[in-house]
């Protein structure tokens, strides 16, 4: 069984119902199935080997979804590429993944071409693919042979070596999670999901596959709505959106800008958020204006397929309180170990481990990194059982609830993105004019800070950095130094640097 069975099922039950809609067009379940079959058939000619990666230059549109499902139908997996990244970074991802083909939705920039030529992948235009024939026999045959262990998608995240890591997820993990997710929160086919998350974020996996599973509808909210969000709530009401599964940062846009003073959602019933710790003061704005909606705090890294813990907000929280991480979804094992490998006691902090079908297949073409974090369950010496060592730290409160506390390493969450500070440092250090650079993060103020030794001023350094990393990885505050302070062990003293920064405020 694969996620394509969801598509067949919903296309049979609700052929004329809208499956996905964006600001330009929409597809019914019948059309979605038909488009996927055509893409599957056409791709077969250029990518005949199953379990191959196919890159998609994504946009916030229906076509992206048709591509994903066409690729999955052909037993290959999709690698969504955000085209707003610098082409250098896109090149790095393409080189690493080496996709069998790259699909453009009419959005391939000329500057990408050398990178696509370099990996010798055919560049296919979506509109051309759709003009082709479909071969129902071939499609059926592929479904007969498909395994739930086949990879479905691969998502890139910042890596500490400067090269993005690509998390590979199988059909099986999605098939395991989605019915549990939909069941836990009582979704049905009348649900209208208001999609905010870009399709290269695993938050969007919940929108896409919950809808397919239920035969529900996803409205892809145009990015422009989030820029000047007066339009946002209007659009949500017009499209009768009932459920939103958003990044914390997107929810904060609405509450920080006091949009609800002007207009409030009229059809919204369920609100899910994840990606960062939700500030209670921001959540309270939502609850004040929409007291009857259900609010759910979700936790989970991409490596365990969407989420493993959830907490339904069941009481009011004061702004200085923390939201609990809650309990595991059905069929997910979550445990918390201290540095001695023992389960944590109240008042203690420990690392979050996850076991179960939800686990990623690993990092694509990266056995070393995979081995570091997908390890034998430390609590089980008796038979092979993988556990994901998340690097996220949680505290067991005296009240019996678990709370997110921090990261083990230099990974941060900034502007809704998961970033390794070393990723930025590596790229800064690669510049000829920079001798040494160090990055810090001021969590409460949400500022990315850089100290560097170098020959050029910071504007010029940042302009060069902009060509290498996405916009959200550009430091907000920069200090050019003659030397960097070191501690007794000769390592750069980050605490001393942070003190210099704080003094400058």
């Amino acid at each position: 069984m694969t996620v394509i069975d969801y598509l067949y099922h919903s296309a049979e039950l609700f052929p004329e119902k809208t499956a996905f809609e964006d600001s330009q067009k929409s597809v019914t379940y019948r059309e979605l199935l038909s488009n996927a079959e055509t893409i599957c058939t056409q791709l077969r000619q250029v990518a005949p080997v199953v379990k191959s990666p196919i890159a998609v230059l994504i946009d916030r549109n229906v076509e992206s979804i048709c591509c994903f499902l066409g690729i999955a139908m052909g037993r290959n997996f999709y690698v969504p590429i955000d085209i707003t990244q610098p082409e250098e970074r896109i090149g790095t991802i393409l080189r690493k993944v080496s996709p069998a083909a790259v699909i453009s939705l009419g959005n391939c920039k000329e500057s990408f071409l050398p990178y696509i030529e370099e990996i010798k992948a055919p560049l296919l235009e979506y509109s051309e693919l759709l003009k082709g024939e479909k071969d129902p026999g071939l499609v059926r045959q592929l479904q007969e042979e498909a395994l739930d262990t086949d990879p479905l998608y691969a998502l890139s995240t910042s890596g500490s070596t400067g090269i993005p890591k690509t998390v590979l997820i199988s059909h099986r993990s999605v098939l395991d999670f989605i019915p549990v997710f939909c069941g836990t929160f009582h979704f049905d086919s009348n649900e209208i999901f208001g999609n905010q998350a870009p399709f290269d974020f695993d938050v969007s996996v919940k929108d896409i596959y919950s809808a397919l599973y239920l035969g529900a509808t996803v409205y892809i909210i145009p990015a422009v709505c989030f820029i000047m969000p007066k339009l946002l709530i209007q659009t949500m009401n017009d499209k009768r959106i009932s459920t939103i599964i958003w990044a914390v940062s997107a929810m904060c846009i609405v509450s920080e800008l006091n949009i609800f003073e002007l207009i409030t959602p009229t059809t919204l019933k369920k609100v899910f958020f994840s990606g960062e710790v939700m500030p209670v003061s921001m959540l309270n704005v939502w609850i004040k204006y929409l007291p009857d909606a259900m609010y759910v705090n979700l936790y989970g890294p991409t490596e365990i397929t969407c989420n493993c813990l959830y907490y339904i907000i069941d009481r009011s929280f004061d702004p200085d309180e923390r939201l609990p991480l809650g309990k595991p979804f059905k069929n997910e094992g979550v445990f918390f170990l201290n540095d001695n490998g023992q389960p944590i006691k109240p008042g203690e902090t420990g690392e979050i481990y996850v076991t179960g079908t939800c686990l990623s297949l690993g990092y694509y073409k990266d056995p070393e990194k995979t081995k570091e974090v997908f390890i034998q369950n430390p609590l089980n010496p008796d038979f092979p059982e993988l556990a994901y060592k998340s690097g996220d730290m949680a505290e067991l409160g005296e009240d019996g609830n678990y709370y997110f506390s921090a990261r083990r390493d230099f990974q941060i969450k900034h502007m809704g993105h998961r970033i390794e500070l070393e990723d930025i440092e590596m790229h800064l250090n690669s510049l000829p004019s920079v001798t040494r650079a160090v990055c810090l993060y001021d969590e409460p103020r949400k500022k990315l800070i850089t100290f560097y030794i170098g020959t050029e001023d910071y504007i010029s350094v940042l302009n060069q950095l902009k060509k290498l990393v996405p916009k959200y990885m550009i430091p907000n505050i920069v200090f050019q130094q003659d030397t960097l302070p070191r501690n007794k062990n000769g390592k750069i003293d980050r605490k001393a640097l942070f003190a210099i920064y704080e003094k400058s405020l």
Partner: protein, 76 residues
């Protein structure tokens, strides 16, 4: 005016704000940067930017932002 420039520089130091008049329409700033901008302006000038001002024309340039801030201050 200087204060606004300072706030903007902290959001993205590489943009030449003095010579740009399409900060929003030209998608120079993204949604999260706009939120930071609105909150920082509110804090630094001790004003509340009501949602009615959340339109591109009030945020497209340093001058436009400065005018909006003055308008809000006058209303007080």
């Amino acid at each position: 005016m200087e204060k606004i420039l300072e706030i903007l520089k902290a959001i993205d130091p590489t943009i030449d704000y003095e010579n740009i008049d399409n900060l929003i329409d030209g998608k120079v700033l993204d949604s999260l940067q706009i939120v930071t901008l609105v909150t920082e302006i509110s804090n630094k000038f001790d004003i509340t930017i009501s949602p009615k001002y959340l339109e591109p024309k009030y945020f497209n340039s340093v001058d436009a932002i400065w005018e909006m801030v003055q308008d809000i201050q006058d209303e007080l």
